[in-house]
């Protein structure tokens, strides 16, 4: 554990794996910044359904606009970027990731390491469950004047992936995506190289699943939401299918195994949590502009998040999915269709309810994102249904991804405290107080 300087007043405490994670992400941004010099082609793509192994087979590097946006949010730059996009005519209600990305581009595309990021050479839309992604890339295609490729990913409307759905995606990979990547890079597709990368992915995925499931211990050695954000960093960005990524997850696993053995709670920016008063499941992404403040609202109350859905938007590994070297394109197709954001409402209900049961959570909380209509739609019915299925109390808060105007600290703190007191009250035997006169 080492203190590092942060945007907030007090230095935040980090585990060694967090420092390594920071190094990895830094090296990724360095590779991106150096791309023009090294004549490396870049491919913009999104986290859900990302085809990192395939992209890297061609020596190309992914640019992830959502990651750039959340990094800008954490570095308190997103407010100005969003204002810039609004000056260009984007309305207040448009997805704030989109506006942040557009504003960042307008401001010179300076990445988190302070270096200019290159323009994408190709836009690869490999997940269509978010309609905004498609419109976002339309804007970027206009802005950068680069080619685009679209992989249409069928929605899991009936809660399953059929052989026809899988074949449909594999055919698009073979007929559209791979030829476009070959054209961009000038390199031939090497399926054996892809198999090697997928084997590394599967190993990292095994270790990551161990980390997620370690939260079944009491106390949980990890925070599966706020801390989880650090854990997903490498596998959500450019390191799936790489040796570096594989090594990172092996290191993380060892760190967590030690925590489990020593019965230690999770590391937070304020120090190690020593009291686990509430075990929660959280649905929805965190707020990035006040990330540390948001996290502290939980730790101050002794609440640890034992499982979250947000950390699964880049892959449902803890439900058994693994990238498979024996079925390279087939498993990539399943991966794209299996992201959390591609699940139907009944599937999301089952998923959250199972987390509540499996992780013996005291309750679950939904952080509804104001500017993401497609993901936020249906969250209240989800809440009711999960409450009905589990008998555990649900809570509801509202904020946003990277628009600081949508984070009202007093209101959110009030709701979190009220919710946790409600959970506590339900747990405690009550003395009957009825009958005081009006």
């Amino acid at each position: 554990m080492t203190p590092t300087a942060s945007a907030d007043a007090m230095p935040s405490l980090k585990d060694d794996s967090m420092l390594r994670q920071k190094e990895l992400i830094g090296s990724y941004y360095k590779r991106l910044a150096d791309a023009p010099k090294t004549n490396t082609k870049t491919v913009a793509t999104f986290v859900p359904g990302n085809l990192t192994e395939l992209i890297s087979c061609f020596g190309t590097v992914p640019i992830l606009p959502e990651i750039n946006a959340l990094q800008s949010g954490m570095r308190k730059l997103s407010g100005n970027y969003i204002a810039e996009a609004e000056r260009q005519g984007h309305s207040e209600d448009v997805c704030t990731y989109v506006k942040c990305d557009i504003g960042m581009s307008e401001a010179g595309n300076i990445g988190p390491t302070g270096e200019k990021l290159p323009n994408p050479d190709l836009l690869l839309l490999s997940y269509t469950g978010c309609f905004t992604f498609m419109k976002w890339f339309e804007l970027l295609r206009e802005r950068y004047g680069c080619p685009s490729t679209m992989l249409h990913v069928p929605y899991q409307g009936r809660g399953e992936i059929t052989p026809e759905m899988k074949r449909y995606v594999v055919e698009q990979l073979e007929r559209v995506v791979i030829p476009d990547l070959e054209k961009l890079s000038g390199a031939r597709f090497d399926i054996d190289l892809l198999r090697e990368k997928l084997a590394l992915s599967a190993k990292a995925e095994d270790d990551l699943v161990y980390v997620w499931e370690s939260a079944k211990n009491r106390p949980s050695p990890i925070d599966g939401y706020f801390g989880g954000v650090y854990y997903i960093g490498p596998i959500f960005t450019a390191f799936r299918g790489s040796q570096e990524g594989c090594d990172y997850y092996a290191m993380l696993r060892r760190e967590i195994e030690e925590r489990v053995r020593e019965k230690r709670g999770p590391m937070t920016p304020e120090g190690e949590m020593t009291t686990e008063k509430f075990r929660l499941v959280v649905e929805g992404p965190p707020n990035w502009t006040s990330f540390r403040e948001f996290w502290k609202m939980f730790t101050d109350e002794g609440a640890v998040v034992v499982a979250s859905t947000y950390t699964k938007v880049g892959g449902l590994y803890d439900r058994g999915f693994r990238h498979d070297p024996k079925d390279p394109l087939g498993s990539l197709a399943e991966y794209c269709m299996g992201c959390y954001t591609n699940l139907s409402l009944p599937e999301r209900v089952k998923f959250i309810a199972k987390y509540v049961e499996d992780y013996q959570a005291d309750g679950f909380l939904i952080n509804s994102v104001k500017s993401c209509a497609s993901f936020s739609a249906g969250q209240l019915p989800i809440l009711r249904e999960v409450e009905r299925l589990t008998g555990r109390t649900g809570g509801f808060i509202e904020s946003d991804l990277v628009d600081p105007r949508y984070f009202s600290a007093a209101n959110i703190k009030n709701r979190i405290e009220s919710y946790l007191q409600m959970v506590e009250q339900k747990r405690t035997a009550c003395v009957n107080v009825a009958g005081v006169g009006a």
């Binding site: 109390t393 509202e398 009202s408 009030n414 709701r415 409600m422 003395v431 009957n432 005081v436 009006a438």
Partner: protein, 442 residues
């Protein structure tokens, strides 16, 4: 005697409730919230203790001596003492403000005028505190402000001590009064209050009064435990486990007032809460407005300012409407624009107001729906529950959307949160006693 204290530090008012051992309300106190939450908390608490002492006074009076009227007279006399104590402070601070360098040229002329204003304020103060007198407010700021304003208007001189200068002195002084500890407690003021009332009382009854006052004074009120709630709760001198969210306190308070309550709507100064409670008063679900205070009490306050009306006048005026104007926006920032726009279109004030009240309730209906709907019985709390036009709109919309529901509104609804906090204090104290007893037995 053992008591339990609940304090609710709201954005507009701060309230305190004291319960006795049986869980009955012994005293209630309220003050306007100010920049200094510690002071507001202290004043509300003192007021609740004064009120508790009056409850003890009433209980100590023998039956059949016109106990209620006696107590009412004494309480009014006591309020007058409190008012005069604060007025002395106000005069001192206004005088100090006048000593400031910016008034050097007019000070000599202004001083006697200012003294004259305060003399007249003292002279007319007794009329404010008579049996069954109707005051627009019980807060010193409002009472003294209104009195100062109409007297200063008469005594001001355009050349030397003009009206706006007088008001400026008042504004400076009132802020200091509200942040200065002043002895408003029972023991400090009861003797003077009692003597004033006894001067006009038949000689034979004086001992009854004195005995009852002595009983109230000598009863030691032991505060076993206190729980705080409301937006200023973090500023209360209570440990973390004695601070509760106002959502839980409103749920429990509403349940205590009306034990069959299943749904609670609370519209306060800056937030609206829709709460569902179980048969024990435990909150099972809630929704509240996010980020923006559209449609809350503050919105009505803003509209009242725009229309140059008192807050309490809005509801009755809206009730005279024959044709409700359809207004969908409850944005507090746009309220003024919306209002002027409608007036320009020739709409009547009462019709616009009726529309604004309906719009507020429509927003509350959305929160209610999202929290799980409206079950029987339904209890409405918070300052807006005192507004008759808001209540009318609520009744209508509830009937349209959910059918017949029994709507409970307590005259003491503003104390719901503080009552819930006091109940938590009592509950926690009993649980702690039980635990201690169990540990001792083990």
């Amino acid at each position: 005697m053992k008591t339990y204290l609940g304090i609710d530090l709201g954005s507009t008012t701060s309230k305190a409730v004291i319960l006795d051992e049986k869980g009955e309300i012994l005293g209630k106190g309220i003050t306007n919230s100010r920049s200094n939450y510690e002071m507001a908390s202290s004043v509300a608490r003192t007021e609740a203790y004064v009120n508790a002492k009056f409850t003890l006074f009433r209980r100590a009076l023998p039956t059949g001596v016109g106990a209620e009227q006696l107590a009412e007279d004494l309480e009014q006399s006591f309020r007058l003492e409190q008012y005069l104590a604060q007025l002395r402070l106000l005069e001192r601070f206004a005088g100090e403000a006048l000593d400031g360098t910016r008034y050097a040229l007019v000070r000599a002329e202004a001083k006697p005028r200012l003294a004259g204003v305060f003399q007249q304020m003292r002279d007319e103060s007794s009329t404010l505190f008579r049996r069954a007198s109707r005051r627009k407010s019980d807060f010193f700021r409002d009472l003294a402000g209104s009195s100062f304003q109409h007297i200063a208007e008469k005594l001001a001189d355009p050349q030397t001590a003009n009206f706006s200068m007088m008001l400026s002195l008042f504004d400076k002084a009132i802020l200091k009064v509200e942040n200065e500890p002043v002895e408003l407690g029972f023991d400090a003021n009861i003797d003077a209050a009692l003597e004033r009332v006894l001067a006009g009382a038949p000689a034979g009854s004086r001992e009854i009064w004195r005995d009852a006052a002595q009983t109230a004074r000598s009863t030691v009120i032991e505060e076993v435990r206190g729980v705080g709630t409301g937006y200023g709760r973090a500023r209360l001198p209570f440990p973390k486990d004695r601070i509760r969210s106002e959502i839980l306190c409103h749920g429990l308070g509403a349940h205590a007032m009306f034990p069959n309550t299943k749904t609670v709507l609370d519209i306060g100064g800056q937030d609206t809460k829709a709460i569902q409670v179980d048969p024990e008063g435990i909150v099972t679900s809630f929704q509240m407005n996010d980020r923006c205070a559209a449609g809350c009490g503050r919105y009505l306050g803003y509209i009242a300012d725009e229309m140059n009306l008192g807050l309490h006048e809005l509801g009755p005026l809206a009730q005279t409407s024959k044709r409700t104007v359809r207004i969908s926006s409850t944005c507090t920032v746009f309220a003024g624009a919306e209002l002027r726009d409608r007036l320009t279109l020739g709409e009547k004030r009462e019709d616009i107001l009726a529309g604004l009240h309906r719009a507020i309730i429509l927003r509350a209906m959305s929160l209610l729906a999202r929290s799980g709907g409206i079950e029987d019985e339904f209890t409405f709390t918070g300052g807006v529950a005192n507004n008759p036009a808001a209540v009318d709109a609520l009744k209508l919309l509830v009937k349209e959307n959910y059918g017949e529901r029994k709507l409970n509104i307590s005259p003491g609804s503003i104390y719901t949160g503080a009552l819930g906090a006091a109940l938590f204090a009592r509950r926690d104290a009993i649980a702690a006693e039980l635990q201690t007893a169990q540990e001792a037995a083990a």
